[in-house]
Amino acid sequence: MGGNPGWAGETGEFGHLTEADVRGTTYVGARPPEGTTPGASCAYPYQVATRAPDAPLFEGPYRARLEKILSRYPDRQGALLPVLSLAQEIRGHLSPESMAQVAGALGLAPAYVRGVASFYTMYHKQPVGEHVIQVCTNVACNLCGGDDVLAAFLKATATEPGEISADGKYTVIAAECLGACGFPTAVQVNETYFENVTPDDVPAILERLAQGAPVASPAAPARGS
């Protein structure tokens, strides 16, 4: 693996940058669960490793975030995607019960919420592993071995696509274009992109994940909270 742990392999002419430089972690800083300015509070990572499937949805700091979200749309229905994202951020996936609660909070019919939630790929309707590993196999990465990277992850985690590994840590999925086509193969693990991934990089990436929140999402709630 290359010298920069932010991604695997070559980094072009910017090898002097640190991972934090590229990911902008210093710039982003802490993003508290209650949100910052309302306009920036509708977009938090909702694919995070720490989750509490039975946690109440809209209490404490999340209540404050909900209020900020609601203030940004002319009607409550407009807030549906950010609120579904909030529910998944807290609980890890969208169960029927979570959908019903979101529906109640926004004054929408539960069936309507189900119809919207089921449309989008990133809303998981079933529980997923702690680390959702999405490997791009679309054409630009496919030309550069995307299928092999996917196979390598499946083998290393001993899972079938979409399943949860035995230890509950991993779910591996083939993804559509992740928008990092210049750095094949692009792999998204929860809220983090890994670029220029080859099958040889897979063990190191999994090792890094096993060490726990290697590039903690600035917005991810601290473990145990």
Binding site: P96, M99, A100, L108, A109, P110, A111, Y112, R114, G115, V116, S118, F119
Partner: protein, 536 residues
């Protein structure tokens, strides 16, 4: 070609030049010219998402084919619905529709009234080209009366939009996207508590949504369809009675823009079994010396009725039926008048609240769970009894009682045995009715022509859908003979004639005739006008 006025534009469709209403879409304009354009997702009572792609037509000057259901007519447009491009588009699209469709026609209830069948037969390819296995989405019970066959679904979303826009209850949704799309409810929740869900079976263009009640019951090409009025509440929804083997197989709505639009409620839709009464009085019956009822001819029965009415003792009690038409009850009231008057009563079940249709508020399942209470009130009948339509009748010892239609089901077997004279014009011989001196078999509303007056005073016609028992007669006909015998003039030979007779007796009905009522009805006291718009 008319000059353009403020509210029409001139267009040419398939070579026919016409002025059509401004703001109409092409599919509506074409309809007015008698040109049908194939469509699935469009429905005149719902929003138009233009997603089925069947209604694509060629508009001269436009590079792409235009969806006729959302393209507004513009001055000077030249439209071709049958050009090569339009036909090729439909044929191509139909192939996509049939790609995963299971071709269940032999076991599908929709067969015979299925728009996929119809369009494919007209313009589809003869053979499918796909060798791929079809997707399987399975069968789902949506609760209540509704079954959903995912494999047959063409994702037109009429059902989803209907539940949202008309039933006012977002109970259905499209789940997933792309070729994995399917219609579903919110998991285990169903549609059973919506009073308006049954309409989705009608508007489904294919056999994806089915009525459990109608499942595998009858082939639609074996059915006769008769325009009628729903008798189950005072809204007077316009319906079609679909019959076979002299039984009502199902009830479907008939368009009336002033009453029920394209819809009916589930209460009316499913409440038809009572029309298929098996046990009917087959012949006129007369009480013999030994006290038993014996079959007689109509002449004998009516002679006996007239004879006894001339000398009828005691007060007169007349019980009408809001499940029978104006002609029947109105002439009964006239009989009472000629006999010197009496008490005119009727009973009707009632619901404790109305259920308004959110998307068409003029339509509601009304309090009165009978068809013609308003009609009876006009003739001087007074409501009695409780909300179940029971009780409320006085003691009839020594009285003359004439009963029309009311089965007296709730009454004890002794009711009427001490009446001085009891004449029953009815359909069934319940224990109380069996105390009559004379029983005259009459038709149900479904077996005769007539009119109901709904809660808003709209007088609407119904037509006979079933054959009565061979010796039964419409009550207005029987009462016409009785009235003739009482000196009221020759009996009207037709129901329409009976209706005109009522117009002579009651000013509110004056000026109306069967021709004017047509298939859509008219309001009491309304100025004379021709029935408007399209019919059944």
């Amino acid at each position: 070609m008319a000059n353009e006025s403020n509210d029409t534009v001139n267009v040419t469709i398939n070579g026919i030049a016409a002025a059509v209403p401004k703001g109409a879409c092409i599919i509506e304009a074409a309809e007015q010219l008698g040109i049908g354009i194939a469509h699935y997702c469009y429905h005149p009572g719902l929003s138009a998402p233009a997603m089925c792609r069947m209604c694509l037509v060629e508009v001269e000057g436009a590079p792409k084919l235009a969806p006729a259901c959302v393209t507004t007519v513009a001055e000077g447009q030249v439209i071709h619905t049958e050009s090569e491009r339009a036909r090729a588009a439909r044929t191509g699209t139909l192939e996509f529709y049939l790609l995963n469709h299971p071709l269940d026609c032999p076991i599908c209830d929709k067969s015979g009234e299925c728009k996929l069948q119809d369009y494919t037969h007209a313009e589809g390819r003869e053979h499918g080209r796909s060798v791929e296995p079809k997707r399987v989405l399975g069968l789902d019970d949506f609760g209540g009366d509704i079954l959903y066959h995912g494999n047959r679904c063409i994702l037109c979303t009429r059902c989803v939009r209907y539940m949202r826009e008309i039933a006012g209850d977002d109970l259905l949704c499209v789940v997933q996207r792309g070729h994995r799309s399917v219609i579903d409810t919110f998991f285990e929740e169903g549609v059973e508590h919506s009073l308006w869900a049954g309409n989705i079976v009608d508007i489904c263009p294919v056999g994806a949504l089915l009525s459990k009640d109608f499942l595998h019951k009858a082939r639609v090409w074996d059915l006769d369809h008769t325009p009628s009025i729903c008798p189950n509440c005072a809204q007077g929804c316009n319906i079609k009675l679909d019959t076979r083997d002299n039984l009502v197989m199902r009830v479907r709505p008939r368009l009336n823009p002033a009453v029920n639009s394209y819809w009916i409620c589930d209460y009316g839709r499913h409440h038809y079994e009572w029309i298929n009464q098996p046990e009917r009085v087959q012949t006129p019956l007369l009480r013999r010396e030994d006290g038993t009822l014996g079959a007689v001819s109509w002449e004998q029965a009516l002679t006996a009725v007239l004879a006894r009415l001339q000398h009828r003792p005691g007060p007169l009690l007349v019980i009408g039926s809001p499940m029978l038409g104006n002609e029947d009850n109105g002439l009964l009231a006239r009989v009472a008048e000629l006999l010197g008057g009496g008490e005119l009563l009727y009973r009707s079940a009632q619901a404790d609240h109305e259920v308004v249709c959110p998307g068409f508020p003029a339509l509601a399942r009304r309090h009165d769970l009978s068809a013609n209470a308003r009609g009876l009130e006009l003739f001087g009948f007074r409501r009695t009894g409780d909300a179940a339509g029971e009780g409320g009748l006085p003691a009839v010892g020594g009285a003359t009682v004439i009963v029309l239609g009311d089965a007296l089901e709730d009454l004890p077997a002794a009711f009427g045995h001490d009446a001085a004279l009891m004449v029953v014009l009815g359909q069934r011989l319940t224990p109380a009715a069996a105390n009559a001196h004379v029983v005259l078999p009459v038709c149900t509303f479904a077996e005769q022509e007539g009119t109901f007056t709904n809660v808003h005073g709209r007088v609407q016609r119904f037509w006979p859908a079933l054959q009565p028992p061979p010796l039964a007669r419409p009550a207005w006909q029987v009462l016409g003979v009785v009235l003739a015998g009482l000196g009221d003039g020759a009996p009207a030979p037709t129901a329409g004639g009976a209706f005109m007779r009522l117009g002579e007796l009651h000013p509110e009905l004056a000026g109306l005739s069967y021709e004017q009522l047509g298939p859509l009805g008219a309001l009491l006291n309304e100025p004379v006008q021709l029935p408007a718009g399209k019919g059944a």
